[in-house]
Subunit: 158 residues, 2 copies
Amino acid sequence: MTPATILDRLLLISDLFERDMARAFAGTQLSAARMGVLWIVHHSGPVTQQALAQGLDVSARNISALVDALVTAEYIRRSPHPTDRRAVLIELTDAGHTLMTATAAEHAELSAHLLEAVDPDDRAALERGIDAMTDRLTQLLAAEAHSADRPGAGRSES
Amino acid sequence: MTPATILDRLLLISDLFERDMARAFAGTQLSAARMGVLWIVHHSGPVTQQALAQGLDVSARNISALVDALVTAEYIRRSPHPTDRRAVLIELTDAGHTLMTATAAEHAELSAHLLEAVDPDDRAALERGIDAMTDRLTQLLAAEAHSADRPGAGRSES
DNA sequence: TATTGTTATACTCTATAACTATA
DNA sequence: TATAGTTATAGAGTATAACAATA
């Protein structure tokens, strides 16, 4: 029942998070991708769609669709950019601000619940271990991305 | 720069895994969902599409599409079920078996690399902590699923 | 000429519902 | 009647490419 390796354990908990979010959003106009947009606007304040595309690492086309849906749901609005008439600024509506305040609180609450489940004597080692694995994984990804950029090894990305 | 809470850390590492898989599959006929099918067949041997639908918790319709793609890619084949003529058995082809053997090896290698990044003195606490959080998260999900089953109970946003 | 955002198009993953063949 | 799988249809997320307006 218990996964054998550390990778299996991490993939299992990732899967549980995914399912949790999917169920929380079922029947609403929200989704993980749309919440990603709201999260950035909540933390950064008004941003252009270009900034959202870069922050989420998705195409501008995709941002247009996500923003359309969130405007329809009345969580955000498009405002004219004060100095660049090509661009728009994405801002939270009052409903959007209320939603994100509640979401941030639930997020913090879940984090606290998870940490409470861990033996206090294990917590420091747990955080060190996760950070060490995150750093290693980031290194491995950067190394793979670098080798993939070499001509002949694959397609380059912007 | 380092995430503040345990939840942020776990979500970050989940995101890194996602990106890693997405990049590994780019330009191939594979994807995370299709690999999920192959993973089950690799570990369970020949299975019906019904079993795949239950194992992956997706619809039978979705399995039909995933299996179609993997048959086209020649990683699996549909064989007649020996006793139930309604059903088919999904089996790995030689190419599928070769792929999954290599994938399992890479999986084990990545797991080993991640664990090597952790201070040996922290490893036991790390595994205990992750398991404790996984158990707690599973409990929370079960509780939410239970309350969501009752009409009118819980926080529903219509 | 470069950038911002939209329209057009397409592919993948996902779901429900109706249908066929078989149990 | 119930089950295994497919066809039909739909919606969300994602991408590239072509385009308009603006810088």
